[in-house]
Symmetry: D2
Subunit: 371 residues, 4 copies
């Protein structure tokens, strides 16, 4: 057990506080021989990096990653590859403004983890939220970049599908659009709307929630470890562990409660080599905790940023009542930057499940079986 | 890592197939000195037991639990108590009708785990779903009964809050009603409606989904182990691991995506000994992965039973196409019996988090701190 | 973390007390498709079974194992195979004489775990040592039989190499002899001597210690997970966890402290396909925590049975002084029956390391590498 | 499971190679509120630091530790304390001479892990042994310093008790001597002898093994988690995981095999508050895997350094035969610097067991029990 680790054969341990000298992680269990240089990781960190536009916190962090261990030149190719030993990744903090937080040193911000960290530990690094800051998710994105190397044939993409009460139009879904707007939104029209909408939220000193969808394609049937290491169970844990996430669903999710058995079950026809062709994907690619070979579809709900300029009632650590306004630099919709984080978490879960499957089952049984 | 275990300091390992000689579990890490007899467990198993009314599978299982280890007479009181050693619980299967399943020996039932077990393992016990049967959840309920002993002051209750598209009226919520109707429904009027509604579903040879809500009261602030052992993350994994569950949410859940920061954050006033009184509970009792002291509120969506009498298109393990009708004895709304299972899973997570908290933090810091 | 489990991908959880209704274990992570019937396990249990001759406890236990889950008929062959789901194994206790233990209900037997269980848990099952009884090792032997199926090409054998101060003559080592005498002794002459020697010990109401050696042949180079899952580290933990074991060594073991670097290092010459031929095996088949391909050699020291007829000074749980004589049925040299237990533990460690290696590294890199 | 982590509630993950930019570790699960500054760790690192005298490798490493996370100023005292979040410790490598290792880039040094890393991973960082270098143990010593804070009342000390075939005279054991000679030797006369003896070994271009003893005093009765988290089992794993260790024993260890039951069992008399006074400590402070309250005594054997100037036969990774002389800077008796490492490992195991015990059993039962 480790409170700050996740995964099993592919195991990630993160560390660091928002305003400490650095954050980072140790990625353990990565197979040897995979090409890995810092740029392979940086490209994903850059997607999550703060300060890129007015819809993100204005904290300026380069989020430059350093690989401290676990790679070496390959004797054959001369290129840098993983060695099977732990990969330590370090990201230095460079733009802390701890003074911004002096005012909330003793006060508990509503919706934040301030009070519970004190209730649990009796001491906390209040600067920028300390360990509970969303800054920790940079380590996850870095680890996710390594995970992607392991399951290179699996395509893992995320998108914002709802902001506040406004859902995108799924008929207009275009993955190409996702990187063309500041919201990771796959619907160009919705993205234009969000721009105006979120400007309003931001200017009002408020914030708003969002729903993110992650889709992983090309994972074969058979990944997942029932009963308590189910693929969907681990995805749920991984996504729910992201800051501000309050709900997770797979495939139809909560909508499945409204369906009849005949409407929800995905019928099968015979495809290549007798493998099934599913006629629908209500299951979101997971049955019995095991991947079906269809796209794995997960969604998660992110609550609105708790740090807002509107005054709220609270107490301080001495039990004194006060009114609080959270200054500092914050995301008006923290769900946006949760997109690359969600992708990374799903990548880590899948890489881990792949290795575990390979460990227990090997290359897997032949299918369909000889008649 | 164990695929069939969950929890850390309080750790449960389950085993058994639907039509094998027995199912059961080993509960490891239970503290010593807790009174525990078979009846303490049986009372919860009886709530989940099949065959009690027409809204459940007609399989007749007594589900009698035997304690095989881990208890002994207390030298002081003479009563039977836990000893700190593993508690093995055995439930014999007595009403298997394996012949019912000969017909689906080679065919993959849509919505079931049949295909993926074959794809993963190359062999499976097809009788009654084997390991993937909801029968496995009896072991969870048994373990949950032990967990409740550890955190005896925490009140954990569950209720069915939605069946198909029909939500209960929360204004009529009455916990007393839950055990008075066959649906664990806290709204008497809704329960009457569900009776007619589910009869219609059942007679049509169909099935329907449901949403369950679990509420845990009196857990103190401070339980939960950030970052990757967060209380809500572990509840999400635990609930998502239950058969047929497709979504999990905490507090406002997916509705939080629609809220503004000021509407979602739970304001605080000063209460006893300086502890906070929260003015709302949008967070569902968890912030930053740690309990706030407010009721912990989790909901999960259960898909409709996949075993239905309506014919569906499928294939068999040789890749041949066929049409399938699932006979046998099934729950028209498997979400109903998921209520005691959900309670048990939350009980296990909380017991585990309590022990882990006690391990790392001890009895906890004084609060509020001396000024 | 589980106090009563060991292994990772191949994971065993044991339960049960000496005089409870049953003992047993759950074996999780066993790959699917391996032929497994009860006789495959019984054959190993029979080697460890008590009451077979006068050099063992006279407790009469059939130690009949039942497989409760995790196996099913193979669709191709019709034979029973593992399914990849947890294998629960049950061994009922049938010859408890709990009355023998009434006298020591409150008294702490020197050298036993009586006092420490009370100091830790405040309650204990005193009958036959309860959970701390060597009876628990039957579960290990059962699990070891499953482990052997996974790594069928690895030959794992054990032998008693020392009893009291008397070491066997290694020049006379003959594996064939091991099953021909009641001591698992590979030296026929030594076995004859031990018969007379142990009779003397037994008749004096005393007991004596022993040293056991386990040899695993044909494990390929590459198993073991540095740094903290080293093959030798895990073997050490596994063997030290056996009742009464006080020392473990690999290869030269403690004798390595006396060697020079040039005498200890195993030189290499080029063998088949460029693989090394080692000119010696001081390392005992493990370097840097990874198998070398040479035989893996581990030894462990078993202390003398603490239950003896000679009176010893002790106290009871009320702090009162007393003199104690342990009646009941005991092994005069518990090290003898530790031989099949040691074999089983090494088998479990190797099976686990094999699966973990397969998970992280796959089928392994080609070797030697193309020039 | 993590190959590069150890411990459970107190969990340490190490990373880094001998000639990479840095080594370090993440310490997870440390309780909050413990005073911790870099000097608390540095003092232990300095004991293990290379280059301090002619009996150590001449590599000059300052081994300066940086705390990257997990500490903050205490609101009461203003002093720096642990916060309950992960403590990342970084030690930069500053005196690598990688060129020394070009010669052995492709050759496998006998007694080293070179060959097995290649056999396992197919790629390795050959510079200074890479991950398999004893340099990794600096991270253990740093973690051990944190562990000591948790169990501050437990006194953990180590000493070299044998070098080559030469054992110290236990009648002359004086803990004060340990830090007065370069061998951590508690026998002043033996230390003087070792100086001459090891000079001879060193000048001959050879090396020699050693035996180390670790003693932990003042641990209360009750620590240890039977059956598979036994205190002695975990100490065995921890010590065996140290580079070059080939044997571990507790209390009498292998000598227990030669003892009779009456000579080996530690008799008890009644002491304060009815607690036992043991008349001997053959058990080495552990019975049934649980601490007895007596000093915990563990010994481990360290093989001679494999890197020697004497030529040895070997092969390279292409299967070609060669003769090898290991240049570079090496310890003639690597067992010496294993003393602080062994202490650290025992400290980590005890801290972990303390937290686990506190978690499962709480503050522990009263003892002796009311009559």
């Amino acid at each position: 057990m480790s409170h700050n680790s996740f995964g099993h054969l592919f195991r990630v341990t993160t560390f660091g506080e928002s305003h400490g000298p650095a954050i980072g992680c140790v990625v353990d269990g990565c197979p040897p021989g995979l090409p890995l240089v810092e740029d392979d990781i940086q490209i994903f960190l850059d997607r999550r990096r703060p300060g890129q536009n007015r819809f993100m916190t204005q904290r300026q962090e380069a989020d430059k990653v350093k690989i401290l261990s676990g790679v070496f030149e390959d004797a054959q190719t001369g290129g840098q590859v993983t060695t099977g030993t732990p990969i330590a990744l370090l990201i230095e903090n460079t733009d802390q403004r701890s003074k911004d937080y002096e005012a909330i040193k003793d006060v508990y911000r509503p919706g934040h983890a301030d009070y519970v960290y004190d209730a649990k530990y009796g001491v906390r690094d209040y600067r920028g939220g300390g360990r509970s800051s969303a800054r920790e998710t940079a380590s996850r994105v870095a680890a996710g970049a390594v995970a992607r190397k392991i399951i290179a044939s699996v395509k893992i993409r995320g998108a914002l599908v709802q902001m506040g009460p406004h859902k995108i139009d799924r008929a207009h879904w275009d993955w190409e659009e996702v990187d063309k707007n500041p919201f990771f939104c796959p619907d160009a029209a919705a993205a234009r709307f969000f721009e105006t909408y979120l400007d309003g939220v931001r200017k009002a000193g408020s914030s708003i929630g969002a729903v993110i969808e992650i889709v992983a394609e090309n994972a074969p049937a058979g990944w997942g470890a029932p009963i308590y290491g189910k693929l969907d169970s681990e995805i749920a844990a991984a996504l729910m562990s992201i800051n501000a996430v309050k709900g997770v669903e797979i495939g139809e999710g909560f909508a499945a409660a409204e369906l009849s058995g005949e409407d929800n079950a995905d019928e099968m026809r015979s495809g290549n080599e007798g493998k099934p062709i599913f006629l629908s994907n209500h299951a979101g690619g997971v049955l019995g905790g095991i991947s079906t070979g269809q796209p794995i579809v997960a969604r998660f709900a992110v609550k609105p940023t708790s740090s807002i300029l509107k005054p709220r009632q609270s107490i301080d650590r001495f039990g004194r009542e006060s009114e609080i306004v959270t200054k500092g630099r914050h995301d008006p919709c923290v769900g946006i930057r949760a997109v690359p984080v969600g992708e990374a978490m799903v990548a880590c879960v899948l890489a881990d499940q792949f290795l575990r499957h390979r460990g227990q089952v090997g290359s897997g049984p032949a299918w369909p079986f000889p008649a």
